[in-house]
């Protein structure tokens, strides 16, 4: 009796497994994922979001390549993904102008492209982006209010030509100029997205300015670097970052970093992957206008950072 029941159980389990597999193995699209580099928290989190969403739909994970922050490398990797016969490419362009030719080439071969965070100059299927300019403005607003409309601020910049960083900075500068004319920008230096370089840049700001009230670093890595420099110099400076990676959220809780423009990068990746599967199922190949999907940023500070659950931290 017991034996037959066990047998039945195994049989049912097997049946469910097979049924489950046949149900889940609905799609088998080859999707390429080509971020500027895979070594950063943000691009890793996108990758996880993309792969999870693809797996949930029964699609194999994306083919991820590392362009190592070089536009030339990214262009040749785009060619490679095209030659590999990808059905769709999810791309974070290192530069808008430099990747435009590649995006055009892919779409002319019937491969839709979804860009992340940086749009290109040619219309393509979709762009899932944080609102860099708007979020920069949001941070400028926070800084301006906290300083009571008066003070000295510095900017830790991204490399020249890196559009995402440049737009954040533009949003920040434009809002300060418009709404807080008495907040002065006393310095702006490039720290190449890098925490270590940001320490040196911040040290320079601290030495050059007796009074420095706030710093806006255009990504979290650099904000963390600035926090280290400010702490070791024993100076109190408001420090704002951008992206909202896990380590920075923890530093906001500890009061080392003041705030950041948080985006749920898992969700952003998943959104891109879902769009990808939609368009592939629909079979659309030509796009006259880029479908821009904006992921709204959220100003995370000590007061509200606790509301970001662990599952949404990356």
């Amino acid at each position: 009796m017991l034996k037959t029941r066990k047998f039945e159980a195994v049989f049912v389990a097997l049946f469910l497994l097979v049924a489950g597999m046949s149900l889940s193995a609905q799609t088998n699209y080859k999707i390429g994922y080509l971020p500027s580099t895979i070594g950063q928290a943000l691009t890793k989190a996108w990758g996880v979001g993309i792969d999870n969403a693809l797996k949930a739909a029964g699609n194999p994970p994306a083919i991820a390549l590392d362009a190592m922050m070089k536009a030339e490398t990214q262009v040749s990797m785009m060619d490679d993904l095209i030659n590999q016969g990808c059905n769709l490419i999810i791309l974070q362009p290192i530069d808008a102008a430099a990747l435009t030719a590649s995006v055009k080439k892919a779409e002319s071969k019937g491969i839709p492209v979804i860009t992340l965070n940086t749009d290109t100059l040619a219309p393509h299927f979709a762009c899932v982006t944080m609102d860099d300019f708007g979020a920069g403005a949001m941070i400028a607003d926070a800084v301006g209010k906290q300083l009571g409309g008066k003070g000295n601020v510095a900017i830790i910049q991204s490399p020249p030509g890196a559009l995402a960083g440049v737009n954040r900075e533009k949003g920040f500068r434009a809002t300060l100029a418009k709404d807080y004319p008495n907040v002065k920008i006393v310095g702006a230096q490039n720290a190449e997205w890098d925490k270590n370089k940001a320490i040196a840049v911040m040290n320079g700001f601290l030495q050059a300015n007796k009074q420095l009230d706030a710093v806006f670093a255009v990504n979290d890595n650099m904000a963390e670097g600035a926090a280290i420099a400010a702490e070791s110099a024993g100076r109190h400076v408001l420090i704002y970052g951008f992206n909202g990676q896990m380590s920075t959220l923890a530093q906001i809780e500890q009061g080392k970093v003041t705030g950041t423009a948080y985006t749920n990068a898992y969700d952003q990746g998943a959104t891109a992957a879902k769009l990808a599967l939609q368009v592939l199922k629909a079979g659309t190949k030509t796009f006259t206008k880029t479908d821009v999907v904006i992921v709204p940023p959220f100003l995370a500070t000590k007061d509200n950072v606790g509301s970001i659950p662990a599952s949404s931290r990356w």
């Binding site: 895979i38 083919i63 991820a64 390549l65 590392d66 070089k70 536009a71 030339e72 262009v75 040749s76 990797m77 060619d79 490679d80 095209i82 030659n83 590999q84 016969g85 530069d95 808008a96 102008a97 430099a98 435009t100 030719a101 590649s102 100059l121 490399p159 020249p160 030509g161 440049v166 900075e169 533009k170 500068r173």
Partner: protein, 336 residues
Amino acid sequence: MLIASRRRLILIGLLLAIGAALSLLSRSFLTLDNLMTLLQEASQTGIVAIGFTLVLITAGIDMSIGAVIAVTAMVCANFLTYTHIPAALFIPMSLGVGLLVGAFNGFFITRFKLPEFIVTLASRGILAGLALIIAVKDSMGFVSNVYIQDPVYLSFGGTIGPVYIITIVFFAMAFLTQSFLKRTRAGTNVYATGANPTAARLSGINTKRSIYGVYMFSGFCASIAAIFISSRMMTAMPDFGIGSEMDVIASVVIGGTPFTGGVGDIWGTVLGTLFLALIKNGILKLGISPYVQPIAIGGIIVVVVILDVWYKSYAEGQARRSARRARESDSRSAAA
């Protein structure tokens, strides 16, 4: 001579073997599109590597090539944005960037006897900064990369039949440079300058002229590459080429031109660039983690160079032994 050509055959054999393995492992490797892209990539490094080979033959090194690419591209971007000079006119002018930088390097190396590495590293830094300074900026002062639409300029990124124009130019330049090295007196002087500069000078060779010549040619080649890279990408960025020095150096050394100077040739460099491009292209298709890819590329290069060095010393030892045996049997037969 025989040893050199056997070494060459080994490299060709490895190239074919890896190519065959990749064709079996990946369905997308052995396709016309992919092979043409592979050749395009190889040519991009290869054109610069041709000039670099000559520098290496004189026992020098040129670290400024990447930054020459950046400045040449920025000069073109400026012409395109701010002037109406047709591309057919300003492209030859922008090639002057490489020649100028080469002359600058040559001057400091020959006049002040400074180490080649230091001089060219310094010019690399200066040029990298210069590229940012002359980069086209928007109204807020941020670098904004131009989107090139000039049809003449873009034609450099095009194809003739299925073959990219850059590939044709690469092989033509390789052929001409090889002929120069092997068939002209100036070419022989380049070898002599690298093999033993003192002996070369004492035998009446103008080594300074050779040194000026190779650095100017190296810069010129880098400038040519800049035109092709920017027309392929339809833009020019101030960091173009910076960092690509390593690929160039690796290609030339895989091709059998050592750092010690005096030997080497262009066909070796052609094979070396094809080899590097093959590995870099193939590795992307194997579905291995991007973290592992650079390790695999580095590992394969080391194995190839070890094989090459090992074979060279083995073959030379073999040649010495057989020469000794020949001498011994000669003296024995003389005694008899």
